[in-house]
């Protein structure tokens, strides 16, 4: 499955017994990041502008003159490469253009309104994933094949298969409609956060638990764990000091994909819980075919995710002493 592939990548990464200058390393990754983002913007741009009809021809019949005027206003009659160049200039100066559907609103505004909301929930989700997933995985590995392990594996199997929107809906049904413990829409108190965070983090908690478990199982079989026990160290010390540090590598590798999962999850979860975050704006723009917003959001997301990947790499470097700071 997916995580096997990632596991291999993480292992390959961790086994690199080469000493690398941290500074050069980060610079290299940063350069890759910039290129990646550039590629993405380009691809997205040409993709969206590949439509023969412009963004303003829709199902509703609109008088031609109106379309003409709009095309003029938004410079859609310029040659494609010029539009591209203009757009890139805008991106570099951090201006993502105006919204096509909501006149007078700029994409940047929508982002700055919606993102903090999404970030709050997303950030909380990431923390919950780490705080719950890792200990679950450790417990499962230590008590391998015993009832704790089986219980955790069972629960995580559910977490992995249930898609976020179903989890969200189920949450509302059980906890809001039937039990009335938590509200089902809006974001006004900590109680409002429980549902969305639960729905967003469900999958990742299960995934991290499994990842941690398999990694810990591998680590616990290593010789140096036996040495640690032979030295008379207590079981707790062996697990949490010696084993865990070595087992965390794949989890760190998962950080970037997890950010992506939570991000895409936010599209549906925000809609279901009626939260006005960036996800909701993005979905609306998709439904409305508001191209600049779609583009702008995609660019923003791309930068965000690539940053996470970079962050994960940096953490890796600190975890693995085989990569040292340049001397």
């Amino acid at each position: 499955m997916y995580y096997e592939d990632m596991d291999n990548q993480a292992q390959a990464f961790a086994k690199r017994g080469v000493e690398i200058d941290l500074g050069r390393y980060i610079a290299g990754r940063f350069a890759s990041m910039v290129i990646a983002v550039f590629l993405i913007i380009t691809i997205t741009f040409f993709l969206l502008h590949a439509l023969p009809s412009g963004p303003f021809s829709s199902e509703r019949p609109v008088p031609k003159s109106v379309i003409e005027a709009l095309n003029e206003k938004y410079k859609l009659n310029d040659p494609l490469w010029k539009q591209y160049a203009d757009y890139m200039k805008g991106v570099v100066s951090l201006d993502l253009g105006p919204s096509y559907r909501k006149s007078g609103v700029r994409v940047n505004d929508m982002i700055s309104e919606g993102f903090p909301v999404s970030a709050k929930i997303g950030g909380a989700s990431i923390i919950v994933v780490m705080l719950l997933g890792i200990p679950m995985g450790v417990m499962s590995a230590v008590k391998k094949d015993m009832w704790q392990d089986r219980a955790i594996m069972f629960v995580s199997a559910i977490g992995i298969t249930v898609p976020s929107f179903i989890a969200a809906s189920a949450f509302i049904y059980v906890f809001s409609s039937r039990l009335g413990w938590f509200p089902s829409y809006g974001l006004y108190s900590w109680k409002h956060m429980v549902g969305p965070v639960a729905a967003l983090s469900g999958f990742s908690i299960a995934f991290v638990a499994r990842l941690t478990r398999s990694s810990m199982i591998d680590v616990l079989q290593q010789d140096y764990i036996r040495t640690a026990k032979a030295k008379g160290l207590s079981n707790i010390s062996v697990i949490y000091k010696h084993a865990l540090k070595n087992a965390l590598a794949p989890v760190v590798s998962y950080l970037a994909p997890m950010a992506a999962t939570i991000l895409t999850g936010s599209f549906v979860v925000e809609r279901i819980f009626a939260i006005s975050g960036m996800g909701k704006y993005f979905v609306e723009s998709v439904t409305n075919r508001d191209y600049t917003v779609i583009m702008g959001a995609t660019v923003f997301y791309a930068v965000l995710l690539v940053s996470f990947a970079l962050l994960a790499d940096i953490i890796h470097a600190f975890l693995d002493p085989r990569i040292k700071l340049g001397e």
Partner: protein, 410 residues
């Protein structure tokens, strides 16, 4: 905890035997030994696939998954032939009726079900739906409706609902309060109806057709592109391989779903577009696997030694290359299908799914979300279908992986 038991069970201690009996004389003769037979036991398998299938069958979960999928496919393909109604037939009189009905007796042989919207539906004793009943009097201020059912005077008072918790309505038959008689399964609409009165069971089965078709088709497209791309990358090696994989790596930095969304926006709605959109994006995973396989095969010793020992290319292909590559590919395909089902559902949720009146599991789920408080069953069935099918494919994929794992030994 552990103590030494003299003469313990399986270590035949000579000391304990002291003086027990005399050892017969012939015991002291040397052992006659035959030449030790060839130590290398012949472990040639009957054939890779039959072994793999046997191994697969041993996995209970995997088999359960396979059976479940087979059942779903069977229903999806053949089911609609038996349906009288079609999936898009609307019946606006019978909207939002759940699969389990709590019925009241209103005298004689008549029974009613009280709808969430405070309407009365006539039902037979064992759950067949006769039709909607219309009130004789409909008092909106005082919130009650009266009906005349086979001569009886029935009053449905729904004013308590506004007053808070507790009973939401009161049903009186000929002056006396009626209490629920029993719960019956809805025999007319197995899974209930949606907000347009459409039969949800029929829609679900049709949805199976759509969802599974999309999932399989998209996976096949991914397979083709992935094998092509990965195969070339692996065979070419060197610079070409580097560049091709770099591209894949960078593209993978962004969640695939974003691409799918963008593509769907561009290509438009419809089954074909969704298949195309998914097919154009998820092949990267397959490409990596195929490339990995090709690379490792290029290095395999046994390919070289097979050639040296004079085996024909065909034999090498069938006995070595194909079994070893298709294994991981099959596993990957089985694992991609649940992802495809999920993606389709996700797209539907966002509004990029199959257009009405066609329904996929995703659109069914999406439609159901709005009414989730009152009509939970509308979400339950499509959600269960999605989850169970995804799980079944995951089990199949895991089982296939275990079955083909050469480390499992015999």
């Amino acid at each position: 905890m552990h103590s030494w038991t003299p003469g313990s069970n399986w270590a035949n201690r000579g000391i304990a035997m002291e003086g027990k009996y005399k050892i017969p004389a012939e015991m002291w003769e040397p052992i006659e030994r035959d030449e030790i037979e060839n130590e290398n036991k012949n472990l040639e398998s009957k054939g890779f696939w039959s072994d793999a299938w046997i191994g697969f069958k041993r996995g209970r979960l995997a088999m359960a998954g396979l059976l479940f999928v087979a059942a779903v496919v069977f229903t999806a393909v053949l089911g609609p032939l038996f349906f009288e109604a079609s999936m898009s037939d609307q019946n606006l009189k019978l909207t939002n009726i759940p699969p389990i009905l709590e019925i009241y007796s209103v005298g004689g042989d008549s029974f009613v079900y009280v709808h969430r919207e405070y309407k009365l539906i006539e039902v037979t004793r064992n759950g067949q739906i006769s039709g909607r009943l219309y009130p004789v009097e409909d008092n909106k201020d005082e919130r009650f409706r009266t009906y005349s059912i086979k001569g009886s005077h029935v009053k449905l008072d729904y004013s308590p609902a506004a007053k808070g918790d507790g009973e939401k309505y009161k049903l009186t038959v000929a002056g006396r309060q009626a209490f629920p008689l029993k719960k019956v399964l809805n025999k007319t609409y197995l899974f209930g109806t949606d907000n347009l009165g459409r039969d949800l069971f029929i829609r679900l089965v049709h949805g199976a057709r759509i969802s599974l078709t999309i999932a399989f088709a998209a996976t096949v497209v991914n397979l083709l592109i992935g094998v092509f791309y990965g195969g070339i990358s692996g065979l070419a090696g060197g610079r070409t391989d580097d560049i091709m994989m770099r591209f894949v790596d960078m593209a993978s930095a962004i969640p695939m779903i974003l691409y799918v969304i963008l593509l769907a926006v561009v290509i438009g709605n419809g089954i074909r577009s969704i298949i195309l959109a998914m097919g154009m994006v998820y092949w990267v995973h397959m490409a990596r696997i195929v490339r990995g396989q090709v690379l490792s095969l290029k290095k395999k010793d046994y390919v070289a030694s097979a050639r040296i020992s004079g085996a024909t290319w065909w034999r090498i292909m069938t006995r070595h290359l194909i079994p070893n590559t298709t294994g991981p590919i099959i596993v990957a395909m089985a694992a991609m299908i649940p992802g495809a089902i999920f993606t389709e559902a996700f797209l539907s949720f966002i509004g990029l799914g199959v257009p009405s009146p066609e329904a996929s599991w995703g659109t069914l789920a999406s439609d159901a979300v709005d009414g989730i408080g009152l009509y939970g069953y509308q979400l339950f069935f499509p959600a269960a279908a999605i989850c169970l099918t995804m799980m079944a494919f995951n089990f199949i994929s895991d089982g296939a992986r275990d079955a083909m794992d050469p480390r499992n030994g015999r």
